[in-house]
């Protein structure tokens, strides 16, 4: 039930409190009141509401974590 899907914001509809979100060509309206978003943002949508913006540069964080884990030995 906690399924959430990634999409990209196409435009904001401020009066309605929604954003138009593109899920690989499937265009839907999602509520935008839980986090500030702008057109072009990648977002995670759950139950018709934008839950979070997705970050584009998580790679280095993961790299550091894995380096640390590998240092633990087997």
């Amino acid at each position: 039930m906690c399924v959430a899907l990634p999409g990209r914001v196409l435009k904001l509809n401020s009066d309605a409190g929604t954003a138009t979100v593109d899920f690989n060509g499937n265009i839907v309206e999602a509520r935008s009141g839980l986090v500030d978003v702008a057109p072009g943002d990648r977002v995670l949508v759950h139950a018709g509401a934008i839950l979070q913006k997705m970050s584009e540069n998580e790679g280095s964080e993961m790299e550091d974590l894995f380096k640390e884990l590998e240092a633990f030995g087997s």
């Binding site: 039930m1 906690c2 839980l34 986090v35 759950h46 139950a47 018709g48 839950l51 979070q52 970050s55």
Partner: protein, 347 residues
């Protein structure tokens, strides 16, 4: 280290046995769909915990919904997951609808408003079940109803929180050596909520995404950090350290902590959220729903939810209890452990 190395590590692992629990129904489904158990060493055991909101909702809640649905002036609005969950008898919302009750399935809780606007004389009651992921959407719903003075929309709440039930499992002696922490719950809560539990019980938590590779990466991290009370974020693309404070603040404007009853586990202190007194006019009678009666006395959903037995060990599994004829909530929901084991022939 690449994904092949990680697969090899998890396959060849010959250290002390470890039991790792996932507490998210979407993880349960993804683990089964990707055949993860078949990729692991026999020393690594995966357990499904109380991570499916529908599965942990006690029978009294379903009974109350069914009772409300009898009123011709009421329409129950719900996510599809809840339609076939039995209450204290095998009767469910789907059957109630067949018998003439008004029950509408929606994708978003906010879909209740267009329905309510068309019929001002009908009371629309949302079956507000869920964890921290869905809670902020109920915050949006209440915010909209309050600001637009909408009086024919109400909620029957069974909103639950993860850290309290995880602590309850550990305190009740569940033999768990690590948790695959729920990715989309963590999007809202952030990662710090698991730290006190990790520390107190010296167990690692890996916040995980939902693809097969993401789950393997997280399992690798949990195994490597065996015995360490730490929380690792393997899903940083959407899980920020502090989660989504804006979403939590909106929710907390209208809701407050409360004790909550979990199917098979009884009442766990502070593990739920209910509408604050100022907004109780939006409540459809959520208080005191703490009775939990099995529709079939042999149903073992309670022990499955606590990781004490696998679904296969339930005497009803695959015989009296199948997705076509579920006896307990874990076989109803597509994210329930029993459903997942049944359709993927796991075990």
């Amino acid at each position: 280290m690449n994904i092949s190395d990680i697969k090899k590590y998890l396959h060849d692992y010959d250290g002390p046995d470890m039991s790792i629990m996932e507490v998210c129904g979407s993880h349960t489904a993804a683990i089964a769909k990707n055949g993860i158990p078949s990729l692991l060493s026999p020393h690594l055991h995966l357990l499904s915990g109380p991570g499916c909101p529908v599965c942990v909702t006690p029978s009294a809640y379903v009974d109350r919904l069914l009772s409300l649905a009898k009123d011709p002036g009421v329409c129950i609005v719900t996510f599809g997951d809840l339609m076939r969950v039995p209450g204290s008898t095998p009767y469910n919302l789907s059957q109630a609808r067949g018998d003439g009750a008004r029950v509408e399935m929606v994708y978003s809780p906010m879909d209740i408003f267009p329905l309510a606007a068309k019929e001002p004389d009908t009371t629309f009651i949302f079956a507000a079940v869920g964890f921290e992921t869905t809670a902020p959407v109920y915050g949006l719903l209440v915010d909209y109803a309050v600001k637009h003075h909408i009086h024919n929309v109400k909620l029957l709440t069974a909103i639950k929180t993860m850290p309290e039930v995880i602590r309850h499992l550990m305190e009740s002696g569940a033999p768990i050596d690590g948790f695959l922490a729920p990715g989309h719950v963590s999007v809202v809560t952030g990662v710090h909520v698991y730290e006190p539990i990790a520390r107190d019980f010296s167990i690692p938590f890996g916040v995980s995404g939902f693809s097969g590779e993401e789950i393997l990466l997280s399992l690798y991290g949990i195994v490597k950090a065996r015995g360490q009370g730490r929380v690792m974020n393997f899903y940083p693309s959407v899980v920020k350290e502090d989660g989504n404070p804006e979403a939590r603040a909106l929710f907390e404007t209208y809701f407050e902590p409360a004790d909550a009853c979990w199917r098979g586990m009884g009442t766990i202190s502070g593990s739920g959220r209910e509408l604050k007194k100022d907004y109780s006019w939006l409540d459809a009678g959520s208080e005191g729903l703490d009775r939990d009666t099995k529709a079939n006395p042999a149903c073992s959903c309670d022990r499955v939810l606590m990781g004490k037995i696998s679904p296969m060990a339930c005497p009803l599994f695959g015989r009296a209890c199948t997705p076509a004829n579920p006896q307990g909530a874990c076989m109803v929901s597509t994210e329930g452990s029993c459903f997942s084991w049944y359709v993927n022939k796991r075990g």
